[in-house]
């Protein structure tokens, strides 16, 4: 860790305040950020945790920040870039201004457009000062020589110039602006949620071109193939309206609270990002989410009749397969086996997560503060599409739950996309049939 020379430290503080005053950037955000430590590299490391940069910019079992992870989008696969300081294959030649331009405007060094799979529409809100700290930290990361993989996008998306139009339609460039009617803590939460933490990248709906529907901010979105991201608004059924500030903080810190447990991508977010946030910042985020101005309310789903035959089939399957952990009343065991009753994840309009988890299982986050990493097994090999539809419909309609119905075809479509493995896996993805060849060579 580089020790800051006192004069440089003072210059940085002075400069950031000057920037703040000149650019009208939120003083609250900058000074609150300064409070994390006078060492810019350490501050940058903390900000990189908030931004969850390492997860996307590191491929599975790859070198940190060297890129290469495949990001599945509805348009094709985009591979993340090498952001180590390697001068030829990484961003070692980028100046701080280059780096700021990329985050703030979506334009990379050399002038080309970045794809919004890199969430610059959110990072645009990050203050100059914070961006500089992030760059200072990235400069200390071990350089890795690894060329960026070519994306797999069809034309015209493969032509980066196409993003010029996309940005015109869907990208609002600009810094975060304080809401003077709200507290410094609220603004800090807003600054993080709308900016670096880029929660809306998953939790806000997007249109068919992948543009964020800001009018439906935080009313639920998609976090990857067949991972529904629940709403974060005040809605009780599909939001955090029923969660206290403390419960939100607990969830982000540990991956679980009495009402829910993380699954899929959110487990990764907890493990790589939110478990490292300070209590101050977590509380700010929670406060903001609980006190956002109400946007347009989502229309609740049409009441659909499950039918008594389907209900009976679903209940029988649920009794046999699910009650050992989730209990016949769907309440589970608080902080151990998550409740299904009243769960936003279970009742999401998009049934992707529920079907995905039933097919392939799920593992809770396992931070040091909640280390167990309890897992749910996959049922994909054991239940067919019709059975999974029945049991999912039951869970989404029992105990006062309400959600659109699914059918066997929906399940089949998800199953097709989640490639089954014929080896018992270690991470809770599809469990092989017990008579499948056993992986004796697993070290």
């Amino acid at each position: 860790m580089n020790a800051m020379h006192p004069r440089r430290c003072t210059r940085t503080i002075a400069r950031s305040i000057a920037w703040a005053l000149l650019a009208g950037a939120p003083v609250a955000a900058s000074i609150a950020a300064q409070g994390e430590g006078s060492n810019e590299v350490a501050r940058g490391e903390y900000l990189v945790r908030i931004g969850d940069c390492e997860y996307c910019h590191t491929e599975p079992n790859g070198k940190p920040f060297a890129g290469g992870r495949a990001i599945a989008t509805p348009f094709g696969v985009i591979y993340t870039a090498n952001i180590t300081p390697d001068p030829t294959t990484g961003i070692g030649q980028w100046t701080v201004q280059d780096f700021y331009t990329a985050l703030h405007t979506g334009i990379r060094r050399g002038g080309g457009h970045l794809y919004p799979a890199f969430p610059y529409p959110w990072f645009t809100k990050v203050s100059r000062d914070d961006v500089e700290a992030i760059k200072a930290y990235l400069d200390t990361v071990a350089p890795v020589q690894q060329s960026n993989k070519p994306n797999k996008l069809p034309w015209p998306m493969s032509w980066r110039g196409s993003l010029f139009g996309w940005n015109l339609l869907f990208f609002d460039e600009g810094d975060y602006k304080d809401d003077a009617t709200q507290s410094a803590q609220w603004n800090r939460g807003a600054y993080l949620v709308q900016g670096l933490a880029h929660c809306g990248a998953c939790h806000t709906p997007v249109n068919w071109l992948g543009g964020t529907k800001h009018s439906n901010a935080f009313q639920g979105g998609v976090a990857g193939l067949h991972w529904a991201a629940p709403g974060l608004g005040s809605n009780i059924r599909d939001g955090v309206g029923g969660w206290s500030v403390a419960e939100i903080v607990e969830y982000l810190k540990t991956g679980a609270n009495a009402k829910s447990a993380s699954a899929g991508p959110m487990t990764d977010v907890v493990m790589n990002s939110t478990q490292y946030l300070s209590d101050t910042d977590l509380n700010a985020i929670a406060l903001y989410l609980k006190n956002r101005p109400h946007g347009a309310h989502k229309t609740p789903p049409k009441t659909q009749d499950l039918g008594s035959a389907a209900l009976a089939r679903g209940q029988a399957l649920f009794t046999d397969n699910c009650t050992a952990c989730h209990n016949p009343d769907g309440r589970g065991v608080p902080k151990v086996f998550p409740p299904l009753t009243g769960s936003a994840a279970i009742q999401a309009d998009n049934p992707g997560t529920v079907i995905h988890v039933v097919l392939a299982g799920s593992k809770m986050a396992a931070p040091a503060s909640l280390p167990t990493g309890l897992s749910m097994p996959g049922f994909g090999w054991k239940l067919d599409d019709r059975e999974i539809a029945d049991v999912v419909n039951y869970a989404r309609h029992a105990w006062g739950n309400r959600a659109p119905l699914v059918d066997a075809d929906t399940v089949a479509a998800v199953r097709k996309d989640i490639e089954p493995s014929d080896r018992p896996s270690r991470d809770g993805t599809l469990t092989a049939h017990p008579d499948a060849p056993v992986n004796r060579g697993n070290p």
């Binding site: 397969n321 050992a324 952990c325 065991v333 902080k335 151990v336 086996f337 299982g361 593992k363 396992a366 040091a368 503060s369 909640l370 280390p371 167990t372 990493g373 309890l374 897992s375 749910m376 097994p377 996959g378 049922f379 090999w381 054991k382 018992p424 896996s425 270690r426 809770g428 469990t431 092989a432 017990p434 004796r440 060579g441 697993n442 070290p443």
Partner: protein, 587 residues
């Protein structure tokens, strides 16, 4: 030989309960700890997932989780005048393999030994006279007291979330618990499991006779529980698939459900699976271990340097490793010299099957769901009139109603055909079984050594087991069986019959996996392999864990005492050995 890997501070041979306990304890100090496990990595999901674990055929009948005798076995004979033959099929005992070891497939029956158990020889001589002990019975004091172990029993109770009712807290007898147990510092962390109907009937009947029944202490959690390491367990669902199965609900204590989530995150801990340790290597003086040799998954022989070697393998496998490594003098029963392999013991069990007209709901069960009486264990009663040493508990366990193996039939039921099928249908829901669980003493002719003929896949001699039940044990077991029959009768059943243990010990039918001895602990190097801290007398940087160190076996399941000794030894290593490596006890 492959390039030797980097030296570590501690190498653990085997990664079951004792390996996990030692690893967790010693990584606290910042030491580099490496565990070598011959089997594969296993975890609750997917290996014991509720989607597939309740498969009696795969796991209980076809030995899904146990040692594969084609890869590793021993030879067996009852007595020295016989030729030992390889055990080609598991039966009497079921060693585990893979991370978690037998800690995955045990029932979870969790006991402490009695204070007198640890001083059995001196206590028996004092109370009954020296001649009360048969000449060929080689029982000996452990060299450690219950009081020294008590804090470590407590540690394990709270690690596992044991469900029970204490009987003796700091000398005060507690109602509803075991009035004979040694004093404990505090109660159990969880209340007892919910009762099953047969245990309610047993409780009532035992009380009518004048006994003091109590709920058996269970390593099946009666509620969701977070242990002192921060590891979370779920509540037991009474699914009836405990013994011989892994738990998919995180509610049976095992290394996976109590220790590994925390241990595996520690940067100074590493684990290599599919590694068969074949030798502890010694320096030229033969008094210091330099590490171990193992064969890895690719069949390569690897030398792993280490400053401290801890044997955490299954029971008799520790003795086998010492014999192959030429650590300690091998026991010779003919000359009664040597120590390694000496004092092998086991458990002697019997049953009384009981048949009712009411429905018993046998399929609702848990591995340690039972009601017991302890009047006839240890020296809890006057042995003078009976002429035997030892005893055991009598318990009605309801561990499940699995269709293939868990059923009782009246003695007069047909043994096959349509009549048998009818008897099965008539009795499945309406029967229970009372078990006796008796001690086995050590004898001069019960021992382990190297087989002269049969070799393993590496060319090393197989372990040879010479063991039989002696008149003392048969007599004692018969005594317990009679007492169990009294209780059965008081339950006012439709019928009951006793199934006593008679004749020679047979390695064929399953009895218990409570093999003990071979590396006895003690105060005297002439009759023990390890000292009271489980440190080898011969090689001071080798420690031995597990039931291997029991000088004889008591009338209780051994896991609690195994774990307490592991914590006791870890404490000595952390606070005494590491500060001043060398013998902790002067011979």
């Amino acid at each position: 030989m492959a390039n030797p890997p980097k030296p570590v501070d501690v190498v653990l041979v085997g990664f079951g309960w004792t390996g996990s306990i030692l690893a967790e304890q010693l990584t606290q100090t910042g030491l580099q700890v490496l565990a070598l496990e011959r089997g594969k990595f296993r975890d609750t999901v997917p290996d014991f997932a509720t989607t597939q674990i309740q498969d009696e055929l795969r796991y209980a009948v076809r030995d899904g989780l146990f040692q594969d005798t084609a890869r590793d076995t021993l030879t067996f004979r009852n007595s020295m005048d016989q030729t030992a033959l390889p055990m080609r099929h598991l039966g009497s005992f079921l060693p585990g393999v893979g991370v978690g070891g037998a800690g995955i497939h045990w029932n979870g029956q969790l006991w402490r030994f009695l204070p007198e158990d640890f001083v059995i020889r001196s206590h028996t001589e004092q109370r009954y006279g020296r001649s009360f002990i048969p000449a060929d019975m080689t029982i000996q004091d452990w060299g450690i007291s219950y009081a020294e172990l008590e804090p470590h029993y407590d540690t394990f109770d709270y690690l596992c979330g044991i469900s029970g009712t204490a009987g003796n807290i700091e000398g005060q007898i507690q109602p509803g618990g075991n009035p004979f147990e040694g004093p404990r510092q505090r109660g159990y962390p969880l209340p007892p499991l919910k009762r099953s109907y047969p245990t309610v009937l047993f409780d009532k009947a035992a009380k009518e006779i004048g006994f003091k029944p109590f709920p058996c202490p269970a390593a099946n959690t009666s509620a969701a529980y977070k242990n002192p390491l921060g590891v979370q367990m779920g509540p037991c669902t009474y699914c009836g698939y405990c013994e011989w199965f892994g738990c998919g609900n995180y509610s049976k204590a095992s290394p996976q459900t109590t220790i590994l989530p925390v241990l595996l995150k520690r940067k100074n801990f590493s684990l290599r699976t599919h590694c068969d340790v074949t030798r502890i290597n010694l320096d030229s003086t033969g008094k210091r271990a330099t590490g171990v040799t193992y064969v890895d998954a690719q069949g390569r022989q690897v030398e792993q340097p280490a400053s401290l070697v801890i044997c955490c393998a299954w029971a008799q496998h520790n003795a086998l490793l010492l014999l192959h490594s030429k650590i300690g003098q091998p026991y010779d029963p003919k000359t009664n010299t040597g120590v390694v392999g000496r004092n092998y013991a086991y458990q002697i069990t019997s049953a009384v099957d009981v048949f009712f007209d009411e429905i018993m709901n046998p399929f609702m069960g848990a591995g340690a769901l039972g009601q017991a009486i302890d009047e006839f264990n240890g020296d809890n009663f006057d042995h003078a009139p009976f002429g035997f040493i030892g005893g055991g508990y009598i318990a009605l366990w309801t561990t499940g109603g699995r269709p293939i193996l868990q059923h009782q039939l009246p003695a007069d039921a047909p043994k096959w055909g349509a009549g048998w099928k009818k008897a099965m249908a008539d009795n499945y829901l309406k029967s229970a079984s009372i078990a006796t669980h008796g001690s086995v003493m050590s004898y001069r002719d019960s021992y382990l050594d190297l087989d002269p003929t049969y070799r393993d896949i590496y060319g090393d001699p197989l372990l040879r087991l010479t063991f039989d039940f002696h008149p003392n044990e048969i007599k004692m077991s018969s005594f317990l069986t009679d007492k169990a029959a009294l209780i059965a009768q008081a339950m006012k059943p439709r019928s009951f019959h006793a199934i006593p243990r008679v004749g020679h010990y047979s390695i064929v039918p399953y009895q218990t996996t409570h093999n003990t001895g071979g590396c006895a602990m003690g105060a005297n190097p002439k009759t023990s392999v390890v000292n009271k801290y489980l440190q080898s007398w011969d090689v001071s940087n080798v420690f031995v864990m597990g039931t291997s160190v029991f000088p004889q076996n008591a009338g209780y399941n051994p896991t609690g005492t195994v774990a307490a000794l592991a914590y006791w030894s870890a404490d000595a290593i952390k606070n005494r050995y590491l500060k001043s490596p060398g013998p902790l006890v002067q011979a």
